[in-house]
C-alpha cells in the first residue's frame, strides 16, 4: 500500500525525462496508489476515478518538462495535477447534471441532484478501505479541508456556506493544518 519513493526526486525527474518504460514503471509503482487515493476522494466513484487517474498519468508524463523544482517538490506537483484533474472532472460532471444552467441553490434541492448524491454516497462506500486520518481532526476544522481540498470550493464560498467570516476560514484552515501535521507526526 504505502509507496516507496526510494529514489531521490532529482533522480526521478531525470528518469522521467527519458520517457521510457523503466521511468513509467517506477513512477507507477511508487506513486499511482497515492495519486489514486487523492482522485478517489474527489470523484468518489471507482469507475470515474479509473478514467481520471489515466488522464493524470498522461498529464504528468507530458508536462514533466514544465516542472519547476524551485517552486516545490515533484510529489507535491504530481498531487496537485491529480487533484486538479479530478476537480475539473467533478465540475464538468456537475455541469452535465445541471439542467440548463440552473442557479446552484436550485440544484441543491432538485431531485436529480439528490439522486446523484445518493449515487455518490453509495459509490463512496466502495472506498470504505480509506484510512481516514482526517476524521481525527476537530469537525469544524475537518470540513474546511474537505471542502477546500476535495470539493474545490474557494474560501469565499466556504465562508458563505458556513456563514463565518473569510478571515476565520483562513485562520481555521491554518489551525486544521497544524493539527493535521501533529497527527501525521504521531502516525509516523
Amino acid at each position: 500500500m504505502s509507496p516507496l519513493h526510494n529514489l531521490p526526486e532529482e533522480t526521478l525527474i531525470l528518469l522521467l525525462k527519458k520517457k521510457n518504460q523503466q521511468a513509467f514503471s517506477y513512477l507507477y509503482d511508487n506513486y499511482s496508489e497515492a495519486l489514486y487515493g487523492v482522485v478517489c476522494r474527489i470523484v468518489a466513484s471507482s469507475e470515474h476515478a479509473e478514467e481520471v487517474i489515466q488522464d493524470v498519468f498522461v498529464k504528468i508524463w507530458k508536462h514533466v518538462d514544465l516542472f519547476d523544482a524551485e517552486k516545490g517538490r515533484l510529489y507535491t506537483w504530481m498531487i496537485s495535477i491529480a487533484r486538479n484533474t479530478a476537480l475539473d472532472y467533478r465540475k464538468s460532471k456537475a455541469v452535465l447534471n445541471e439542467q440548463k444552467n440552473q442557479p446552484l441553490s436550485n440544484i441543491v434541492n432538485s431531485k436529480e441532484e439528490q439522486d446523484q448524491t445518493q449515487i455518490e454516497q453509495s459509490a463512496k462506500a466502495d472506498f470504505i478501505g480509506f484510512r481516514n486520518i482526517l476524521d481525527k481532526l476537530k469537525p469544524e476544522w475537518r470540513i474546511l479541508i474537505e471542502m477546500a481540498y476535495y470539493e474545490g470550493y474557494t474560501q469565499q464560498e466556504i465562508a458563505e456556506q458556513l456563514d463565518v467570516p473569510l478571515g476565520t476560514v483562513k485562520t481555521r484552515t491554518r489551525a486544521a493544518f497544524l493539527q493535521l501535521q501533529q497527527l501525521l507526526k504521531e502516525y509516523r
Binding site: 513509467f24 498519468f57 478501505g129 483562513k170 501525521l184
Partner: protein
C-alpha cells in the same frame, strides 16, 4: 513586514490548497525567496499533504498499469526503443562501416562532407549569435546609462523635496517664530531666515540668499542677548546651500545676526564682517 503575522494569517495554507489568488501567489513567491521561515512553512504544509496522500493511498486495478502505458504509446509520448537496443544498432552500423572501409579502396567518404556542411551551418549560426550578442550588449549598456541618469535625477529631486519638506515643517509648527535677517547697509541683497522654536528654544537657520562662504571662511550666527553677542553656532560647511541647519539652542535673545568669520568661528563677532541681522 511582520513575518509571524503573515504566516499566521493562513496564506500559506491557502496557497498549498491552491486557493490563493494570483496576486497573493506572486507576493508569496517573492517573500519565500528572501525568507527562510516562509519557505520552510510552505515546505512543511506541502509535506503534510504528501504524507496525507501516502496514508490515504488506494490499491488500483492491476490492469490499469498496462492500460496507461498503452495510452502513452498510442499518444506517441514514449521515447523510441530501448536505450540498449539503440546502442546495438549503432555499433553494428559502425562495424559494417569498418568492414567496408577495410576493403581495397575506401569508397567515397560521406561522413566528412556531412560534417563539413555542419561546420558551415555552425559558423553561420556562430556569426549570427555573435552579432546578436553585440547588439544586445549595446542595448543593455544604453539601458543602463538611461537608468543611471534617471535614478540620479530622481535622487536630486528627492533631495530638494526633502529640503522643502523640512522647511515646510518648520513653517507649519505654531511654536516656531520665523525671523527674517536682512542685509546690512553695504550688503542690501543678502537675506536669511531664522526659525526659532519658542518651546524647545532650538534655532534653525536657512541661508536663503547668501553667497557660498569663501574658502577658509564660515558664516557664524550670533544672538544678541541684553546687548551682548552670544555665539549661536557656525553654519556647517557641508550643509547644502538651500538646506536648513540646526544651530545652538538660544533661550533668550532680542536680535540675531550673521558674520563671516574664519573657519571654525570666533568667540566675539568681527563687526566689520556683519552680513545680515534682524530683531525679534
Amino acid at each position: 513586514m511582520d513575518i509571524k503575522a503573515y504566516i499566521s494569517s493562513g496564506i500559506i495554507e491557502s496557497y498549498v490548497l491552491g486557493l490563493a489568488s494570483e496576486e497573493e501567489v506572486s507576493i508569496l513567491n517573492c517573500i519565500r525567496k528572501n525568507n527562510v521561515e516562509v519557505e520552510q512553512a510552505i515546505a512543511e504544509a506541502e509535506k503534510a499533504l504528501e504524507e496525507l496522500a501516502d496514508i490515504q493511498a488506494m490499491a488500483m486495478p492491476v490492469s490499469l498499469k498496462e492500460d496507461i502505458w498503452n495510452k502513452l504509446n498510442a499518444e506517441n509520448l514514449v521515447a523510441f526503443g530501448d536505450p540498449s537496443e539503440g546502442k546495438e544498432t549503432e555499433s553494428s552500423t559502425l562495424d559494417h562501416n569498418i568492414e567496408r572501409n577495410s576493403g581495397e579502396e575506401p569508397e567515397e567518404v560521406i561522413v566528412p562532407r556531412k560534417s563539413y556542411n555542419w561546420a558551415i551551418a555552425a559558423s553561420v549560426l556562430l556569426v549570427l549569435s555573435v552579432g546578436a550578442n553585440v547588439l544586445l550588449y549595446q542595448q543593455n549598456n544604453e539601458t543602463k546609462d538611461k537608468l543611471t541618469k534617471t535614478s540620479s535625477s530622481f535622487d536630486q529631486q528627492q533631495a530638494s523635496l526633502a529640503t522643502l519638506q523640512d522647511k515646510w515643517r518648520l513653517v507649519q509648527n505654531p511654536a516656531i517664530k520665523t525671523i527674517p535677517l536682512k542685509g546690512v547697509e553695504n550688503k542690501p541683497d543678502l537675506h536669511a531666515l531664522l526659525f526659532w522654536d519658542q518651546l524647545s528654544k532650538a534655532v534653525y537657520l536657512n541661508l536663503e540668499q547668501m553667497p557660498v562662504a569663501p574658502k577658509g571662511k564660515q558664516y557664524q550666527l550670533w544672538a544678541m542677548v541684553d546687548g551682548k553677542p552670544v555665539n549661536a553656532g557656525v553654519f556647517p560647511l557641508d550643509a547644502k546651500a538651500d538646506g536648513t541647519s540646526k544651530m545652538l539652542d538660544i533661550p533668550k535673545a532680542q536680535a540675531f545676526a550673521i558674520t563671516l568669520e574664519d573657519e571654525g568661528g570666533k568667540d566675539v563677532p568681527t563687526l566689520s564682517e556683519l552680513c545680515v541681522m534682524g530683531g525679534i
